[in-house]
Structures are given as C-alpha cells and as structure tokens.
C-alpha cells in the first residue's frame, strides 16, 4: 500500500452512505467493534439499528431494533372558551402519549408528565413540536397573555426526565402564521466533539425555527444552540430566498441528515408546481443555506392537481419524497437524468388496504428510524394508522381520538 497523501481525499470526508457501504463489508464482528471507536460518526453508523439489522437480520431482536414507542400529541379544547377539566380519562393537561401497538411501554395512555417531572404545571397545554434522539421540544403557554408573539419553548429529555427552558423568542417579525417549520438537531447529528454545553443545559441540541417575515415576505430563520461558546440566545437570519416561496410544504418538521436540516417549500409561481428544498447546515457556529429546485419529469410531476401532498423524508437513510395519491403512497427518489441533473422519479408504490370514499390519506408524522408514517383520513378522525413503508402493512393506532390535534403529533423512538 502506498503512503497516504494527506492532501488527497481521505476516508473521513466520504459521505455516510459510502462509509456505510464499506462498514457493511468489514468481515468480522471484532473488526466492526473496533471500527465503532474510530470516531463518533463511525460509532453512530455502526450502532445504527438499520445497519445492525442489515448485518445480522437473524439477530435483530437481540441487537435492539429501533423501537417506536408512540406519539406525543396535544389535546384540543372542545371549544376555545371552555376551560379543559382534569378528568378521569385525562388526569393531566400535558400532551398525551399514545402508545403504538406493541409499544414496549405497554398499551396504556400516558402523558408527557409521566416522563418529565413537572410540579409547576409548566407543561400544561404544551404543544409538541419536534422530537429526535430522546429529546422532545414543546411550546409552552406564556404566563402573561399579552405576549402573544413570544415563543416559550421547553426541551424535554424523555430519558432523564429533565426539562430545560429555552430563552423566550420574540417572533413579532414573522407574519400571522408565526413559526411554520421546526428542526431539532441533537448530539448524534453533530460532528465529533468535544462540545461543551452552555450553563443550564444538560443536552447538546440546536433548534431551528422558520417562518415568513411580515415586512418583506422573505423566509426568516431563528437558531438556538445549547453549546457553550456561541453567544447565548436566539440568532436570527434572513434567508434571502431567490424566488417567492411558501411553506414549509406539508410537513413542518425538517428532515435531519448528516447534521443538515431540510425543509420542502412550494414556489409561488403561476401553477404552484415547483418544489424547493432548503438545506440549513450549521458547522461550528457558521450557518449555510441552500435552496434547490426539485427537478421532475413533466409527465410524472407529483403535485399536479391530483397529488396534493408531498413529504420529504429519509428512507434507509436516503432522502426521499412521500406522495399520497388516493389510497397509495408513492415513494420518490433522486436519480441522475441524462443531462447530468438529479431528478426525482417514483420508485415505489404502497397500497393502503383501507380507503375511505376515495379520500386521500394524509401523512401526519414521519417516523424516521422505523421507516413508517402515521396517517389519517380526515373524514374519519377517530382513527389513526401506522403505515410501514418497508412492508406496506397498516396498523390501527388504538387510543387515538378526534380531540387530538394531529398537527402536533410527534413520534417517540428509542434505540
């Protein structure tokens, strides 16, 4: 083997997909075990349940398959004037935890306060926003009602039971829709440390919020990091998008892959058929924003008049689009087109076994590590279904009711 030229491309900079292909071929367990301490990124790749399941399909149960436990969701008041009562069915005002069938936590209904100690009632009426890596971000109700534009967010560590308040964010810059997109980047998404934490925080995370500025209709990004060293508090960025955009389209929660948060936006052109991704990546405090128009073939464009819905997600760690069309979900992937561009093509179609009056199903919440999605039929709001994207199977989620605000459903997964 020749000497390594330090200036040449080296393995550490290869994309994770490619490193995974290599790790897939490391022949023995001991070598792989050693790989897991080479660096943080490799540790994450080797300990990724999808990876382990692929390497040892027969032993997946003993190796700890990623486990979807259930969903946190905010319960709507029946009408806005009625004060919600604490009842036997709902002894807590905090978000409801709805377990999935076979949840290791058992079938009973719980509440966020079953996970997080909250004697002060701070989590009462809290709205789940985004969850990732054992952390759940919720919006809490400010004590004084005159501060409508102030966003009070609280980070809950579902494993340690601790909650930490983020500094309040004055979002009066944004239009009436306020914050429309959320992203949570956790320790596992960061590059190899060390990352010392700011005072008052016990978890490494970054929160990104996005909305439209009232004044110039441009996208506006807010960022908060619990890492020490950056000046504490919210940082605010004008996204200066090249075209007029609305969104995030369909899904408010960003897809996070390799430390980059991605949202889908719809272009405000004549027929609203253009989709864009916004990639936000943060490295050592520096933020970079990239807008990319999604390229489709005219004939198979997914958001023609019949296809109202397109979701960005990751399937098997690759970026994909989920499109709902009547009772099927189509999965779109990026492939090279003859002119050298990456184009989106439909690559898989999953038929749901139920179909209500031809009404399209609505994806509500994508479950990252389980390659599954929570879906609803709006004409039958009493039930929610879990759709497995690998096998196409559909499972009814017991304990779901119409009083849940599906817009706030976020999944809770553990490894």
């Amino acid at each position: 083997m020749s000497e390594i030229d330090p200036a040449a491309a080296c393995l550490p900079v290869l994309p994770e997909d490619v490193v995974t292909v290599i790790l897939d071929r490391v022949p023995d367990l001991v070598s792989l075990f050693r790989c897991s301490v080479v660096c943080k990124r490799w540790r994450r790749l080797v300990s990724d349940p999808v990876f382990l399941r692929r390497r040892w399909p027969e032993g997946c149960s003993s190796l700890g398959r990623p486990s979807l436990l259930g969903f946190f969701v905010h319960r709507d008041r029946i009408n806005t004037s009625a004060k919600r009562k604490i009842s036997r069915l709902y002894p807590s005002l905090s978000p409801v935890f709805v377990p999935v069938p076979d949840s290791v936590l058992g079938p009973e209904r719980r509440f966020l306060t079953s996970f997080i100690r909250d004697d002060a009632g701070i989590l009462d009426d809290a709205k789940p926003l985004v969850a990732r890596g054992g952390l759940l971000l919720v919006r809490i109700t400010p004590r004084s009602l005159d501060k409508n534009n102030v966003l009070c967010l609280c980070m809950c560590n579902l494993l340690t039971g601790r909650r930490e308040l983020l500094p309040p964010l004055d979002a009066s810059l944004l239009d009436d829709n306020g914050v429309t997109g959320y992203s949570l980047v956790t320790a596992a998404d960061h590059d190899a440390g060390p990352h010392p934490l700011a005072d008052g925080y016990s978890n490494l995370f970054q929160v990104l919020l996005i909305g439209v500025a009232r004044e110039n209709w441009r996208l506006h990004l807010y960022k908060f990091s619990s890492a020490a060293g950056e000046s504490q508090g919210w940082h605010s960025y004008d996204c200066r998008q090249p075209v007029s955009l609305s969104g995030p389209f369909e899904c408010r929660i960003a897809v996070v892959a390799c430390g980059t948060s991605q949202w889908l936006f719809q272009g405000n052109d004549a027929n609203n058929q253009r989709l864009y991704t916004l990639d936000v990546s943060i490295n050592s405090g520096h933020i970079s924003l990239t807008f990319t128009m999604l390229q489709f073939d005219e004939l198979t464009h997914p958001i023609g008049s019949f296809l109202p819905s397109a979701w960005l997600c990751t399937i098997d760690a690759r970026l994909a689009l989920l499109c709902a069309r009547s009772n099927q979900l189509e999965i779109w992937s990026r492939l090279y087109h003859q002119n050298g561009t990456l184009r989106w093509h439909p690559t898989q179609s999953i038929r749901m076994e139920i179909n209500l009056f031809g009404e399209p199903l609505s994806p509500v919440c994508f479950i990252e590590n389980s390659d599954a999605v929570l879906v609803l039929y709006h004409s039958d709001p009493e039930f929610a279904y879990l759709l497995d994207l690998q096998f196409g199977s559909v499972t009814k989620v017991a304990g779901w009711t119409r009083s849940f605000n599906y817009m706030t459903a976020v999944s809770y997964e553990i490894n």
Binding site: C10, L11, L23, V26, C39
Partner: protein
C-alpha cells in the same frame, strides 16, 4: 478520446454512447458497458448519450472516469450474461484476477472510485472498492485504522475514548 475497442467484435454494430467527465473529456464507450451504471442505464434506455451529445458527469473527473470505464468494459460481457451462469471457470478466474489487480491502487484513487461508483450506482465496482477498504480495516486497532485511512490525529477526548474501549473490551484486542 481513446475509444475502447468494441468488446465482442460485433462488426461495430454495438451501440456507443459518449460520456463527458467534469473536466470536459469525452469518452466513447459501448452502451452495454456504460449500462453497468444504474443511473446511466435509465438515460441510455431513453436514447440519451448517442450521436453528438454526450452525457455530462459533473461529479466524475477524467482520471476516475477512465478507471471506472476500464472496470465496466471488463465486466460488461459477464453482466450481459445475467451474472454469467454459463461462464467458464477460466473466465471467472480471469475476472477475479482483474478485480484484484484493479484495486491495487493508491488510496486516494480508491476513494474517488468509490464515490464515482456510488454516484453512478455501479454496484459491482462499489462493492469491490468497499471490500478492498474493508480489508484494510480488518484486524487493525482503532488507532491503526485511523492512521491507515488518513484520519487526522485523534483529539484527546477521542484518544481517551479509544483507550477506555480497549481497557473495557480487552477481548476484542487480543
């Protein structure tokens, strides 16, 4: 640009396509060979890459592309036979010898190759290079792996973590 000889001597009837590397070098190659790339296959089936217009590959430079095509040309006949169930043992041994020789190259070239194979979705090539790198990993300590593969020196934290790991899981280092 150096056009590869048509592999099966099919009276030149084999369809040719042109690929253009990121540094604008044109490569003319049999469609069957280029079709080892899943991404190119779609384009070629659509009738792309023929005649005057080539298929631009903005992510692959000419040095890498010529290496990629060397692999594709060698493997195209076997691939056309559907994994070559009727290939002779001699043919298979020859391919194996070629593969072993093929990856006996500088590490930086290996990395460019695997990136190209990944982008072009040439499964056999990606697998071959990945196997080569995986073999370089095999049997080494974490520190040796880092050195072999060109990682920067570990941070004190990473070093401490590796030491702790070796202490705790001594069996993996015997």
């Amino acid at each position: 640009m150096a056009a590869p000889e048509s592999g099966d001597g099919n009276n030149g009837a084999a369809r040719m396509v042109t690929l253009i590397s990121s540094d604008n070098t044109r490569f003319e190659v049999e469609a069957a060979a280029a079709s080892l790339s899943q991404t190119l296959q779609l384009t070629i089936l659509d009738g792309g890459g023929g005649g005057g217009d080539g298929i631009p590959l903005p992510n692959v430079d000419s040095a890498t592309l010529s290496k990629v095509l060397e692999y594709c040309i060698k493997h195209a006949p076997a691939a056309a036979n559907g994994g070559a169930p009727n290939a002779t043992a001699v043919d298979r041994a020859e391919l194996e010898r070629f593969d072993n020789e093929f990856v006996n190259i500088d590490q930086s070239v290996l990395y460019s190759l695997i990136m190209a194979a990944h982008n072009l979705e040439i499964e056999g090539l990606q697998s071959l290079v990945a196997k080569k790198v995986a073999d370089m990993i095999k049997g080494k300590s974490p520190m040796e792996i880092r050195r072999t593969l060109g990682f920067p020196d570990p941070t004190p934290e990473e070093q401490a973590e590796m030491n702790a790991h070796m202490l705790e899981y001594g069996w993996a280092y015997e």
